[in-house]
Amino acid sequence: MASRRLNQDLPVIARFEVRHRNYLAPDGSIIRPLPAFASDAKLLIALYRAMVLLRVFDRKAVALQRTGRLGTYAVSLGQEAVSVGTAGAMREEDVLLPSYRDNGALLWRGVKLEEILLFWGGDERGNCFSGPLHDFPFCVPVGSQAPHAAGVAYAFRLRKEPRVAVCLFGDGATSKGDVYEAMNFAGVHKLPVVFVATNNQWAISVPLRLQTGSETLAQKAIAAGFTGEQVDGNDVVAMRAAAEEAIAAARGGEGPHFIEAVTYRLGDHTTSDDASRYRSVDEVQAHWKEEPIARLRAYLVGQKMWGKADEERLATECHDRVEAAVERYLATARRRPETMFDHLYADLPEVYAAQRRELAGEHDA
């Protein structure tokens, strides 16, 4: 470009770079020396199990939606490694600020399957979950939870608590001013917060190239004055390692970090979407070769940490867990209509209490 050419003689006053992290190739082979935690077979298997459970759960949730027993639902198909790998690196006392697609992170944190179903079934009680009480619920308005993450991290700083806020959002969210404002603030105060962008290449039907002109999402952190890194988001080892380092650094007072997790949304955006309208089967097929579960399985099997019998046992186990959760979900008693007022204010003002009584009366007969 002319402007670049013309100013080529000017002195450079700042330089930045973005690195890429991956350990496992799509076929499960090792690209570079694995991080320390990867020698812990139990841990790797736990990550594997979490991803498989998520996939089984997703499939069931879609079936429930298709049969009218669940509302709109967003699957994680193909991108299970991102939320599982990230949450896996958090401590209980850290705070998770998830997006609506981060079921994997919530499950890892201890939220129950039936609670997630309850939320997507249209019941607020699903957000009053058994994961860490301080974790945030699913955030539907894209990117709007990023300022919360900065506020949470600021609270940690103020109270000198060695905790970290971890905020997950999508590639689409990186176009929102909220996310930029939050990152910029985190950069000013070097807050203990890690931003993880799940770059699944699509925001519903909008491909990444219409979302941003930047070569990577990781470089967006440069604007906020901290580091960004691109990670193979289909490699759960890389996700977990990147999140672990970033969280440890944040906890250690070294400030925020941004992780771009490159993956691919193999499914429809949600059950309301039909992705065949805007992308080709070929494109999707190609990405199936890179998906995270087969990749980790290949590695585990190659290392003799995992076998056919394990796989079968896991399948049964996931199936049973999910079915049991679905039963509990379906058996959950309905709330009475007037309970819609019960958590509006700590103390419902009398003027609205009258409305509550009216509503209760209507449905008493």
């Binding site: 509302g71 709109t72 609506y100 939320f119 997507w120 079934g121 249209g122 019941d123 607020e124 539907v140 308005p141 894209v142 990117g143 689409g172 969210a173 176009s175 929102k176 001013g177 925001a203 519903i204 039907s205 909008v206 219409l210 979302q211 941003t212 309301s272 979407d273 309208r277 805007y278 309905r334 709330r335 209509p337 309970t339 819609m340 007022f341 509006l344 003027v351 609205y352 409305q355 509503l359 209507e362 449905h363």
Partner: protein, 326 residues
């Protein structure tokens, strides 16, 4: 005449406007190849190209701000906000720029833009997909706020909104997108932007509503007629500026009024209509103007939303109370 759904009528009007005027540009999230999450812009990108039917990044403030900039250059942008729950980042642009550009520059720059968004609850969608905060918008001087309740009005009012030289927020009742069907002639005929529509005549009571709530309101009128109460039903259609004359005329006839909307009660736009009638129509009034609305609580997610919205029963009960008042 062909029968189309409300969302198809929106699509027809957009196509017609783009056909007629090369300055019309459609922009928003997923409006391009995907044709909009409700298919309101289906086929438009194919017909008019990706420059005129533009998928924006995921940023609502941006969408509204782009519209202001484009409009100042003489384009006629039609921005789409995917759900009304995501319109709030646009408010700064709507209040501080779109509605003021003409006044601020004393006519030198203007803002002929339209911002369309699905409105209202009842489709069992996730959080933030059920908003009806039209009252916030209808309070902004310099803006027009329009909400059709049938395919015909969607077509005619949207055309009018796009042709209007000032900014218009165009709310589309999500619940009626496919449920409302009607004959629409794609003849490019616009409807006026400051007129209410009398959907049903009656002399005992006036029911005023807008958007999807008119479905229950019409059903209520039907139920009332079985009880011998002849209800007149008015679709306000344009909330800002609203048609004072039609409202007052009806009240002069009936002397009784119920206003229906989905939005929360306190500070809803029903308050404006009720206050107006109570001031300017007091001498005709035989009973207090009553509002049947959503409750003053956060609209619940799918499981309870039906109890939040004004039901036929609540409207009938309200109307009955008003008719019994003496």
């Amino acid at each position: 005449m062909p029968e189309v759904t409300l969302v198809e009528a929106v699509n027809l009007a957009l196509g017609r406007a783009m056909e007629d005027d090369p300055d019309v540009v459609v922009l928003g999230e997923d409006v391009g190849v995907n044709g909009g999450v409700f298919r309101a812009t289906a086929g438009l990108q194919k017909r008019f190209g990706a420059e005129r039917v533009l998928d924006t990044p995921l940023a609502e403030l941006l969408i509204s701000g782009l519209c202001v900039g484009m409009a100042a250059q003489g384009l006629k942008p039609v921005g789409e906000i995917q759900f009304m729950g995501f319109i709030y980042p646009c408010l700064d642009q709507l209040v501080n720029h779109a509605s003021r550009m003409r006044n601020r520059t004393q006519g030198r720059l203007t803002c002929p833009m339209v911002l369309r968004t699905p409105h209202g609850a009842g489709i069992r969608a996730p959080e933030h997909h059920s908003e009806s905060t039209e009252a916030m918008l209808a309070h902004i001087p310099g803006l027009r706020v329009v909400i059709p309740s049938s395919p015909e009005r969607a077509y005619g009012l949207l055309l009018a909104a796009i042709r209007d030289p000032d900014p218009v927020v165009f709310l589309e009742p999500t619940r009626l997108y496919r449920a409302a069907k009607g004959e629409v002639q794609d003849d490019g005929e616009a409807l006026p932007l400051d007129r209410a529509f009398v959907l049903r005549e009656g002399r005992d009571i006036t029911l005023i509503g807008w958007g999807a709530a008119l479905k229950e309101t019409m059903a209520a009128a039907e139920a009332l007629s079985a009880e011998g109460i002849a209800a007149e039903v008015i679709d306000l259609a344009t909330l800002k500026p609203y048609d004072e004359r039609t409202v007052l005329g009806s009240i002069a006839k009936t002397g009784r009024c119920v206003i229906v909307h989905e939005a929360a009660h306190t500070g809803g736009f029903g308050a404006e209509i009720a206050a107006f009638i109570a001031e300017r129509g007091l001498s005709s009034l035989l009973a207090p103007v009553t509002r049947v609305t959503g409750y003053d609580t956060v609209i619940p997610m799918a499981r309870l939303e039906q109890y939040y919205m004004p039901s036929v029963e609540r409207i009938v009960a309200g109307a009955r109370r008003v008719c019994q008042f003496s």
